[in-house]
Symmetry: C2
Subunit: 212 residues, 2 copies
């Protein structure tokens, strides 16, 4: 409940409902590719359960994670004819999707267009925040920002469905630096890890301050 509320920022119920009515539901296993960079764009997706990452590669293999998507989030938006990112499931997940080009009634079309617009606008905002982070924040600020973001977007659950490598590629750091910053945040009692993939915030104000 809390999680759903927290992740509905990208649109009102009506706009999102269209993907429920017209969409098809699919289960994807961990690491399965949902779509691949440079493939033609056909569908729009929404996470029902689980989590998804989008990634881009440089020619020599360097990887950038574009975004992580949690239940309720819309992804797979592309402004051109080809995917600029690949999308993969972080864990076993369920995903809804709708064909963009489906012949559809006037009302559904307007709803779908509205959903696409809202999700694209939301995507731009998040990409801009991400950009500022990569351009001007230090390693510890990036990791703190990341943890804060996960908490916000998942409604307070400190679950990390992604690997340290995924986090590193999201933050423009190496896996070792991410690990060191996490250890540091833990030893300064800002957060506490009770498992590799699960943490709790012990000092929210400190986390907020460190996120810059």
């Amino acid at each position: 409940m809390i999680a759903i509320t927290a992740t509905q920022g990208q649109g009102n119920g009506a706009a999102l409902a269209v993907i429920e009515r017209l969409g098809t539901r699919e289960s994807v296993t961990k690491d399965a590719e949902i779509y691949v960079q440079s493939e033609p764009v056909e569908r729009i997706y929404r996470v029902v359960s689980g989590a998804v990452r989008t990634t881009r590669l440089l020619s020599d293999g360097r990887r950038q994670v574009g975004e992580f998507y949690f239940p309720g989030d819309v992804f797979g938006l592309e402004t051109g004819p080809e995917h600029r990112y690949s999308a993969e499931a972080l864990c076993d997940s369920v995903v809804l999707s709708v064909k963009r080009a489906t012949l559809r009634s006037g009302e559904a079309s307007a709803e779908l267009d509205r959903m696409i617009w809202e999700a694209t606008a939301h995507e731009l905002d998040r990409t801009q925040d991400h950009l500022l982070m990569l351009g001007r924040k230090t390693a510890s600020e990036r990791v703190a920002s990341f943890l804060r973001g996960v908490i916000q977007r998942t409604g307070g659950q400190g679950d990390l469905p992604m690997t340290r490598q995924d986090i590193a590629d999201y933050l423009g750091l190496t896996i070792e630096t991410v690990s060191r910053m996490l250890s540091q945040l833990q030893s300064s009692a800002v957060v506490e890890f009770d498992a590799l993939r699960h943490f709790r915030v012990r000092n929210p104000q400190a986390l907020e301050r460190l996120a810059a």
Copy 2:
């Protein structure tokens, strides 16, 4: 002519024409603020002549340049009620703008909406490329990418209306590092500066390769 052609990637003439018909024209002097971060969003802008930068500040003053805009480019798109960036003229410029909320006829409204959509989509694409650059490219790759981008977007003119500080804040580097990388590109005969703010590409393939 070349410059205009090269910068019309964001929409067809019809969609852009609406801002010509309904917009007001304004001259702005170098460093003048066109709008300011956290102000309410009212208008959409288009560069007629000159150039514009958008910037965001972190609380301690670190600055990130979001984008540089050249003649023909649309800017000032915002998805929320408040500006997330400030916009300033890089040099004396002329800018067209339209009120977003203007009462307008059905046809003009559709045209304006279409223009906003196309420009937002374009903005997202460019922000994603920028993100990959900041996350995963080295200093020399960033500078090479930047020069390539300027050439592409201005139709081959190697004019740099921005300071080295602006470039540094766009690339997530310091002014000194930008300067060193430019010197390096020049001594390896990839580009040549015949003035501080004007260069020529001597080896386009090398520039392309170095941009990664």
